[in-house]
């Protein structure tokens, strides 16, 4: 334990007066105070990267929208979580995820257990206003136990982060930019030929969609088990 004094900030989130430590993010303080901010790329136990733009909030006095998961609280901050502008930004960002790949929920292995699907429902996305791109995406079935279906990937990088930060293998990474970006294993070799992959399957369990799954699952059968993550990150903290 270090004994440096912890600075406490008082701020207002969604009209609630909240207190938090200066090293906490807006998202953490909001959650401690029971204020819901939607997230997608975030997963407790992994680092935060602010990639999905679901947690964008307004901070009084700033022109830019700030991702709550990577913005630290400050004394006197006034944060707005819900208004029409933010709702519109979140809906559009989510719609773009749907239009960029081929998310056919009805035949997906995670149908009914999918973070993307549920967030769409929660945010009232009942159709996609922009045209679907329908890209021809590969499915990597080279691994004996797991499947990577790029049609369902939203590039949240949870797999990249859990592999690097928790398993320590760094098998996963991102290749390419924009709509051409793709998660890859071992410098874009087939997953089954990866030398760094330990076969632990953590990437499969943290994946929010049906992009990574266990083989042999039919539509709606892939349930993700994530209970290991808080435990492992707690052990990591203890070991520091």
């Amino acid at each position: 334990m270090n004994n440096t004094a912890i600075e406490i900030c008082t701020l207002i989130i969604e009209n609630h007066e909240c207190g938090g430590r200066a090293d906490q993010t807006i998202l953490e303080v909001a959650e401690e105070n029971g204020i819901f901010i939607p997230t997608l790329c975030r997963l407790s136990g992994l680092s935060n990267i602010g990639a999905c733009r679901m947690c964008l909030v307004e901070v009084k006095g700033m022109n830019k929208l700030m991702p709550a998961c990577v913005t630290k609280v400050q004394e006197g901050m006034v944060v707005t979580v819900n208004n029409e502008r933010l709702a519109e930004h979140r809906r559009l960002a989510l719609e773009m995820l749907f239009s960029e790949r081929n998310h056919i929920c009805s035949v997906c292995v995670t149908n009914g257990h999918c973070d993307l699907q549920f967030l769409a429902q929660k945010l009232g996305v009942n159709h996609i206003t922009m045209p679907y791109i329908h890209p021809l995406m590969p499915v990597d079935a080279s691994h004996p136990r797991f499947l990577a279906d790029h049609n369902r990937c939203i590039l949240c990088t949870r797999c990249v982060r859990v592999c690097q930060e928790v398993e320590g293998a760094h098998t996963w990474d991102i290749m390419g930019r924009g709509t051409k970006a793709r998660v890859i294993t071992d410098l874009n070799r087939p997953w089954g030929e990866s030398e760094s992959c330990t076969g632990c399957g953590k990437c499969v369990q943290v994946c929010p969609t049906g992009a990574l799954s266990e083989k042999g699952q039919a539509a709606g059968e892939m349930l993700k088990r994530r209970t290991f993550l808080p435990y492992l990150s707690m052990m990591r903290e203890v070991g520091k």
Binding site: F98, N102, H103, I104, C105, S106, V107, C108, N111, G112, C114, Q117, F118, A120, Q121, K122, G124, N126, H127, I128, T129, P131, Y132, H134, P135, L136, M137
Partner: protein, 182 residues
């Protein structure tokens, strides 16, 4: 004393490029169909005999995506003749399974189906059947959609709720009950 017969709402259901599962779900309302039957007149549907889509339709429930020239022609006619157009189910809302072919060029799809996988009479049909579009679309890419009812299929309860609300002149609020793939 003669009872004044209240005018019933003119409702149509349409089956474009879908599996008819949404219509099965519609029938799955069981006894609620009788309740609905008291309020609506089914003027056009795969379930009734009308051959042409009529005029002055109050509510049209459209299942299926826009995949062929015929679908394209039909949906424009439906829009012209309908007050409230409901996209019924994932195919009409998102393109769903029919849209999975869009990632491949149409010529390749035809070749695969009518040549590679055909055992007899290998030939791509050019007569009688409508020409397929290169790109499978949800309804709202072609016409204005008034109500979106996602689901594969939408539950019977959701369909009943949506139609009941529309008959009462309200816009059905279904964010908590309807989602893609459900």
């Amino acid at each position: 004393m003669t009872k004044v017969k209240p005018t019933k709402a003119r409702v149509a259901t349409v089956w474009l490029d879908g599996c008819s599962g949404c219509h099965m779900s519609l029938l799955d309302m069981d006894e609620k169909l009788i309740l609905l039957g008291e309020k609506i007149e089914l003027v056009y549907s795969p379930l009734v005999d009308a051959k042409d889509f009529p005029e002055n339709v109050d509510v049209a429930l459209v299942e299926g995506s826009i995949s062929s020239e015929e679908d394209l022609h039909k949906i424009k006619l439906i829009r012209r003749n309908t007050k409230v157009l409901v996209a019924l189910g994932d195919c009409s809302v998102t393109g769903n399974i029919p849209s999975m072919r869009t990632v491949f060029p149409l010529a390749k799809v035809m070749e695969r189906v009518y040549d590679e996988n055909a055992t007899i009479n290998k030939q791509v049909p050019t007569k009688v059947v409508p020409r397929l579009l290169e790109r499978v679309m949800p309804l709202h890419e072609v016409v204005k959609v008034d109500v979106y009812l996602p689901g594969c299929p939408p539950s019977a309860d959701n369909i009943f709720f949506a139609v009941s609300e529309l008959l009462e002149g309200r816009v059905p609020e279904m964010t908590s009950t309807a989602r893609f793939g459900a």
